[in-house]
């Protein structure tokens, strides 16, 4: 029997009187690349913050590989890797020093070996002794993914991983995500606005609208459900329109 990587049950988070995430019920099997779509303020980042234990739910619950995010948050943190939208490392430290610091916090053994392995995986072993201060956004994003992989996580959370990257950077991050999922079996939970990226990389998607999950299914099922839609973008716009976000100009019935 396959254990689900992520399960949420009526997961809800309020900020004062505002509801950021409302009664989210979601099951993501292990080995998926899940694309979490939605407009700005839809509740995607709050959901990631809840699942990465950075935030406590107001009500409801969630588990990562059967560990409750509140009761067993320490175990959850050992199982997950997290890459925020804007990865800010310590500019005055080298890549190796940044990674060593974060690896030690994750109680990684044989830190130096692990750093070498990860940088090899990224294809940039020469970055070890370079200071992060001079890095471009794309390079930082790669180091951001490296830090999330140090402790061999089973579930990786990525918040807009390709945001602000040039086409080459987007392609490289996409390839890396595919490699991590296909070759290392890591379940990926990815917040994204890039629908073409989601269509290319994801095996399943969820669409959030004003804090509510309005659709969640495998990409194959979604595409089958809307046979007239030429792309995921059209489907997304249609779903958003159905939920009052945009006028329905998508041409999808």
């Amino acid at each position: 029997m396959t254990t689900s990587a992520i399960t949420t049950y009526e997961l809800t988070r309020h900020y004062g009187e505002n509801t950021a995430v409302s009664q989210l019920n979601l099951t993501i099997p292990q080995g998926e690349v899940f694309g979490f779509l939605g407009h700005n303020g839809a509740g995607k980042t709050t959901t990631v913050n809840l699942l990465t234990t950075l935030l406590l739910p107001t009500s409801g619950s969630a588990t990562i590989l059967d560990f409750d995010i509140v009761e067993h948050n320490r175990e959850v943190r050992q199982l997950i890797g997290y890459v925020p939208e804007n990865v800010r490392l310590y500019n005055d430290l080298t890549v190796a020093e940044n990674l060593r610091f974060l690896a030690e916090l994750s109680e990684v053994k044989y830190v130096d070996d692990r750093i070498s392995q990860i940088l090899d995986l990224l294809g940039h072993p020469e970055w070890q002794d370079r200071r992060v201060g001079g890095f471009s956004k794309g390079m930082r994003q790669r180091v951001g993914i490296a830090q999330a992989l140090l402790h061999k996580p089973e579930v990786l959370f990525l918040d807009e991983p390709a945001s602000g990257l040039d086409p080459e950077g987007q392609r490289d991050i996409g390839r890396l995500i595919t490699t991590l999922n296909r070759d290392y079996g890591i379940t990926i939970f990815m917040n994204t606005h890039r629908l073409a990226e989601a269509a290319r990389l994801c095996t399943s998607i969820g669409i959030m609208n004003h804090g509510r999950l309005v659709m969640a299914d495998t990409l194959e099922n979604v595409m089958t459900r809307f046979p007239d839609a030429p792309s995921l973008e059209e489907i997304y716009l249609h779903v958003e329109a159905q939920n009052g976000r945009f006028p329905n100009t998508a041409g999808v019935a």
């Binding site: 950075l54 943190r77 800010r88 490392l89 310590y90 430290l93 916090l105």
Partner: protein
């Protein structure tokens, strides 16, 4: 290694790689050279004036000669008190602001807290690391000044004098911790790191300059005749009101104990060891009190407000 120590070590390493911090540290050490040079020149000038006065009086046939002025070696370092209270305090504010305020704004705290790290471990690590940075900096200043006394001042300090300088270094650390803890606390209370820096500096200016000036207006002057020149000097005397106002100024406490330890304050040369030790312990408690209060408030704020790192 425990989590807090891992964080503390990182804080230490990043501080000594930070250009702004290194620039101010070099400024601090540069001012020490200037301080010792000015101090030793002033003392030599005082001795020269005294010797000339004695020679003139003896030539005029005077029988009663003025007593030798009390010139203590450590008075050469008297300006150190001012440099610590100004440059050191700004440095402490920058450390606290960089450590939490800026890191929170940049999202760096999220990377740490998505790992098996508890918030209290994070805060302790930050505080310990930056305390170690300030202690190292003051240790360097202590060593640097001890060497400068010999090299620039041409004076070999005694063991007792080195002990006084060391105790002053400890008092200075207690003083700087006030501003480090203040800026850490403000980093947790205010939304913008720029505001943290500004509010910390305003508070520092109020306790360092405004309060002592207010206290000065409440002092009374008494007249004292200078034994060498014969001139009448006005010496301000503390009143109950001025003492009460100064009690709220850590900077005043540092200057006060600094004057006594470095023997630049009037009457400090004749102060007994017992009285000095009592003053040192009392001042240490007074200087540490705001630090304890700010740390307690920081923990309360950080542990209660779980959305803080996400804002």
């Amino acid at each position: 290694m425990t989590t807090s120590l891992i964080i503390a070590r990182k804080e230490f390493r990043t501080a000594f790689r930070n250009r702004l911090f290194l620039t101010i540290t070099l400024l601090f050490l540069g001012l020490s050279i200037l301080s010792v040079y000015i101090g030793s020149t002033t003392k030599r000038a005082e001795m020269r004036i005294y010797n000339e006065t004695i020679t003139n009086l003896q030539a005029e046939g005077a029988v009663v000669l003025p007593a030798t002025p009390e010139i203590h070696t450590l008075t050469i370092l008297a300006n150190l008190v001012e440099y610590v209270s100004i440059v050191g305090a700004i440095l402490a504010v920058i450390l606290g602001y960089n450590s939490l305020g800026e890191e929170r704004d940049s999202g760096g705290l999220k990377l740490i807290l998505s790992r098996p790290v508890y918030r209290d471990q994070l805060l302790w690590g930050k505080w310990l690391g930056n305390t170690a940075v300030l202690a190292t900096l003051l240790g360097l200043v202590f060593l640097f000044n001890s060497v400068l006394l010999v090299v620039v001042g041409g004076i070999i300090p005694t063991g007792a004098e080195l002990l006084r300088l060391f105790v002053f270094t400890l008092m200075a650390l207690a003083y700087l911790l006030t501003f480090l803890s203040l800026s850490i606390f403000l980093s947790l209370r205010l939304n913008s790191s720029a505001n943290v820096f500004l509010v910390s500096l305003v508070i520092w200016m109020v306790v360092s300059f405004v309060l002592p000036q207010m206290a000065e207006t409440q002092m009374v002057n008494s007249s004292v005749v200078n034994s060498i020149s014969g001139a009448i000097n006005q010496i301000p005397q503390e009143t109950a009101v001025s003492q009460t106002i100064n009690a709220f100024s850590p900077t005043w406490h540092l200057r006060n104990i600094g004057g006594q330890l470095l023997q630049s304050a009037p009457g400090s040369g004749s102060m007994s060891s017992g009285t000095l030790i009592a003053h040192v312990l009392t001042t240490l408690l007074i200087l540490l009190a705001p630090t304890v209060a700010f740390i307690a408030a920081s923990f309360t704020t950080f542990l209660r407000n779980e959305t803080l790192v996400l804002e």
